[in-house]
Symmetry: C2
Subunit: 428 residues, 2 copies
Amino acid sequence: MAIASRSWISSANDPESDFPIQNLPYGVFLYRETAHIGVAIGDQILDLYACADQGFLSILSKEVAAACKARTLNPLMSLGPEAWSALRRQLMTLLDEGYEKKSDVEPLLLSRKDAVMRPPADIGDYTDFYASIYHATRVGRLFRPDNPLLPNYKYVPIGYHGRVSSIVISGADIRRPCGQIKPPAAEAPVFGPSKSLDYELEVGILVGTGNPLGHSIPIDKAEEHIFGLCLVNDWSARDIQSWEYQPLGPFLAKNFATTISPWIVPLEALSPYRVPSFERPANDPAPLPYLASSSRDRDGIDLTLEVYLQSEAMRQQQMQAMMLSRGNLRDLYWTIGQLVTHHTCNGCNLRPGDLLATGTISGPEAGSEGCLLEKRHNPEPLRLPTGEIRTFLEDGDEITFRAYTQKSGLPRIGFGDCTGRVVALEAC
Amino acid sequence: MAIASRSWISSANDPESDFPIQNLPYGVFLYRETAHIGVAIGDQILDLYACADQGFLSILSKEVAAACKARTLNPLMSLGPEAWSALRRQLMTLLDEGYEKKSDVEPLLLSRKDAVMRPPADIGDYTDFYASIYHATRVGRLFRPDNPLLPNYKYVPIGYHGRVSSIVISGADIRRPCGQIKPPAAEAPVFGPSKSLDYELEVGILVGTGNPLGHSIPIDKAEEHIFGLCLVNDWSARDIQSWEYQPLGPFLAKNFATTISPWIVPLEALSPYRVPSFERPANDPAPLPYLASSSRDRDGIDLTLEVYLQSEAMRQQQMQAMMLSRGNLRDLYWTIGQLVTHHTCNGCNLRPGDLLATGTISGPEAGSEGCLLEKRHNPEPLRLPTGEIRTFLEDGDEITFRAYTQKSGLPRIGFGDCTGRVVALEAC
């Protein structure tokens, strides 16, 4: 596949665009009240339903063309990496600046700006991990100053199950949750709105082909089961969390909303940007054999992740959103392949469309914290350009995640925005 | 509805039957390779697809008749309590011994014994609670002898999310899971088959009508959202659990398999067997107002629950299964309505077909422990009639749960079996 190719859609050739012809992320949008699959290209969406319907995918297998006419990505996800590659090649052909019949394809485009996006897949199960050692250490230090990291952390890719019903697509408002909160000095908890609402910056892994119940996925096959990646905001109510989470983990502190970005970036699009996996300090244990990959030199992904906040006051004063942090996916202690393999090592079955999220992605240095809770360690409070101070999120705050990778001689591959705005409760 | 009525299906009038005309639990079975909805009646199943198809439900709304022709119970679940009651009344009419056209209905019956059952619903999310204070206390004592119950227990109906993909129907084999296990004396964990596989005796709550994201279900409306109950075996690998569960809760220790019984007993069928909710000791706090029900005199359910084990050696010697424990649903610290309301108090949305399980149901006395882990407190080891000793489950062990309620002058309402057999791993 020619990395250097350009598209006849000029916005796709803008070096600032998230969506050059080398990306082609998949999403689902509403076309006259019906869900269609599309790929993002520059500021446009190519309608794959229409492509299949009009014969532009007829050189592919019937299954692929049929999957492109589905209402979600699940059928396409279930077809596996060869089918995904074949479709991608054909879409690149149709969008390449050298394609001769571009005037036939042009009517199948629509403006991305005007599109109403839908959840990309029927997500059967959602699992959230805890793969950033920097996040785990900073959060642990708040609870256990002398012993921040638990003994299992360097052996077990810690994870837990999340809630599927409350996964929403970027742009949906996030209502501040109510819950039981116990102030440290109080005898008993009270029921009321969360006062410590937080975001968590995560990357989502969308499962392609699954595995049957009772069978695991070997580490060197794990990435073959990954369809693509998106951004995830695992909104968290820290006051509800600290009171409820023992002994079975977070529940209502997390399941009121999880935002995902609408475009699923194919793992293949990220192939040129792979880097070695996290370098464990010399004293750390090696991963157990079932988690030991033979491709450690390229198991990481160099993906820059940014968090922006715009308060209500900033919006009223027409101030741009302020960057709160910048981190990188390569800083995770566990690779995306290790998360998949660990999840299935007991025979647990994954299904096409399942969502695995990495957990909050934080780096080692100040300014790379993937949530507000971690910023408590900073000596200075977080001050917005309006002079407002933020410890946790206030009503009206809009949080936006962005992600991109760049490399000399290669285009920028981006993920688009993952956005949500906190709205006030009427009553608890 | 006449409680004393009898059916023209004689097996339904057997006082030992789980399925008299007053029960009529819903399930999904295979009819010529197609999933049909049915109700259990004595040793038979009445095919609701056929009933709807042949006009026996034409006095009901079109929506109800259409829902009875669906492949899962989800459409019926979404219609709400009035629709469920109307359908139930009509089915009672068709099956009542006084019904005049029984010969027209008879061809729509099939033998329950020969039926292949399917999952009753598309379960969107599965939540597991921890509602037995006796279970929480006994398990807590193993980890914290001086402080078995955490401070949040009497305020928060503790729960966490489980895995949907690995929910299987009664009768499916349960493969022993592999995982990371850290022997107490060892420096590092090893990867291998679980050596402490356990069952957990639970009741499942199938959600009928859901609630929109951002809206909660008030406590006095909670039961209107419950379609019915089933039995749940939340298989657990204790050695995997104790190593992985901090700080985010159980994950691979539980998600390799969860067995549910195939018949969903309507809440309405249990109405005559309601009892007061758990009587909190005088020093316990009252539930916070959002969990305070105005019908405490009938928020409990008098449901006897039994666990049976048959080992491979017992099967070979044609010995009956041995009863391991007997408990009662009324011993739960939290009611089923409180579980529903707490789950939604932060705005989390439930959807038709969602499964909420109570957590292990244990009573105060020896012999009422709902899992093997709790039996560690007993001075004598568990000895099977073959002389075999059980600390945890061995390959070949078959676990069966049964549940029933009885009351003078009223028929027995039962749940049918919830069974699974542990099978050996080939390799990890």
